[in-house]
Subunit: 335 residues, 2 copies
């Protein structure tokens, strides 16, 4: 297993498309796409040129309890504001793509269920198209992010990569043969719902022993609250950094199950790259070392020998960039 | 989840290749391939025509402790005998393919490790080519079998199927986009080495808590022997059929972990078909009902809604047929 550091690339020059660099230099500024990330309390918007460079990027805070209609209106305003600020002419923008958390019907542009946004069965792509007058595609944020890693990021050129995201939950997005692999109903990679303990805790999905019940913020907090009066997960992380034993213990168990999740998906997909990303590692980077040590224990030797476990180098712009690249890939054919 | 019975198809007329049936009728008998299955104590040989019909089939017993050289010699003799018995002229046979248990380097034709055959790092394809004067390809038996299911079996026409084999161990072979999916080092689908219990038993691979430690014949027997003096796994199966409580208990636990394995691979691949096969279900078919009930418990709802869980309908000829079809797919281009 090769470990690679957290390297930020300074030049994102060519996309994965394979056109000649000279041509790309000329065409790069003729067409743009917009990539958007929406999460519970943040809205990020980036304008990306045809060679995969973010030309303009803005982060906005959003009200986590605004209604769907308010959210739509807000996004539309911020998109228009961002285009204006960037100085790029509207008619050079061929479309936009949005990466968001939840179960997304990307084919029909419908958000089926997003707990984080509190949206259910909303025709988000069509609604946003009406408001912005731009072609819109939507997909799960992790799927957008893995596309960025494949096209311009740490797994550039690899045909067989898996992004594991660990934040409020755990999930994976998969590149096979250079494309996002979705499975029959766009649920491939749902590692959080794999079951590791038939005698374990019940999960929000109704099943018992899902691996997410050892990893998700909500599950960690619920476990701690059995014995401690905690306001939020922040207090767990703070106690971990202060080396309080109870917090070291619970996050040691969490890192064990994260390592199981990584090892198990590696065993079943036998990928070239496992790319780790997500808020947990951003907030307590010390956990990386523990996860890596446990992967050494739990990953099957023949798979360990070929997989490269790396960390995303796209920082907080991965979803925005991946969305914009997906918009290029998808919308160029429509125009 | 749709359940389908154990239906034996009587007409295996067209291959998945897509040529017109009339043409296939004419060409079917111009070219043949030979499919071979080798396992610990059995050798099966079939001659298959170009439309995927087994024209001639023979089963031989083999000595499980014969040397590699004896095995080679034996296989060569049985191949020649089978061709002779079939009455098919040697020059119509374009090649042969062998499906066998273990870790197979199919690209280089080398058996890296087969515990069942007690072979390590042998250039089996080249050695058999020398003896038989036929082009030879080799692969893991489950991979050959899933190709048969995809081309002419229960998952015919599906682009996205997984065969789970449960015998002396547990493994899976995967069809994605109509082709065998192998991963970086041909280890994709190694469900037996996924870890479900960090406090579990040590496995032959050196890891702790692999799911195979609850499922494999060896593991079941080792557990039972802690309290019972048993000669072989047959006594466990006999006691199960006699409804002895200890045997019902241990195989209930086994079916729980089989259901976890099925549920977890379904969750990560989101396939159209899960095809169950293997000696365990052939020997104690009563366990199917228990596995199905537990899959209802442990499979994630969105995946359960689209997956079809079925049983192989190719009987004991699946590996032979799949190998012969793989030989067609691979060797036609070489000729």
């Amino acid at each position: 297993m090769h470990h690679e550091g957290f390297i930020r690339e300074t030049e994102l020059v060519t996309s994965g498309v394979g056109r000649k660099a000279a041509l790309l230099d000329i065409c790069g500024d003729l067409l743009y796409t917009i990539g958007i990330e929406i999460d519970k309390s943040v809205l990020k918007i980036g304008i990306v040129n045809y060679v995969g460079e973010i030309i303009y990027f803005q982060t906005f805070f959003r009200n986590p309890i605004e209604s769907y209609e308010e959210a739509l209106d807000n996004i539309n305003q911020k998109v228009k504001y961002t285009i204006e600020q960037s100085g790029i002419s509207f008619n050079k923008i061929i479309g936009l793509a949005v990466g968001l958390p939840g179960f997304i019907d990307y084919k029909n542009g419908i958000v089926r269920l997003s707990d984080q946004l509190r949206w259910t069965d909303v025709p988000f792509a069509e609604d946003l198209k009406q408001l912005t007058s731009l072609n819109v595609i939507i997909d799960n944020g992790l799927k957008m992010k893995v596309m960025a890693e494949h096209a311009v990021g740490i797994a550039k050129g690899s045909q067989n990569s898996i992004l594991v995201g660990i934040g409020s939950g755990i999930g994976a997005a998969i590149i096979l043969n250079g494309e996002i692999y979705r499975g029959e109903s766009n649920n491939a990679g749902e590692i959080g719902h794999t079951v590791v303990d038939p005698n374990g805790n019940v999960y929000s999905c109704g099943k018992i022993g899902c691996i997410a019940t050892y990893i998700s913020e909500g599950a960690i907090l619920a476990d701690c609250r059995k014995v401690k009066d905690l306001a939020s997960i922040d207090e767990v992380y703070l106690a971990f950094r202060n080396k309080e034993q109870w917090a070291l213990n619970i996050l040691d168990r969490t890192s064990t199950y994260i390592a199981l999740a990584i090892s198990n998906i590696s065993c079943l997909y036998n990928p070239e790259y496992i790319i780790l990303s997500g808020e947990l590692m951003d907030r307590i980077p010390e956990i990386k070392q523990s996860i890596e040590a446990k992967c050494e224990m739990y990953m099957w030797e023949p798979v360990k020998q070929t997989v490269r476990m790396v960390y995303s180098n796209l920082g907080d712009q991965g979803i925005v960039l991946g969305a914009a690249i997906q918009a290029q890939n998808t919308l160029i054919e429509l125009n």
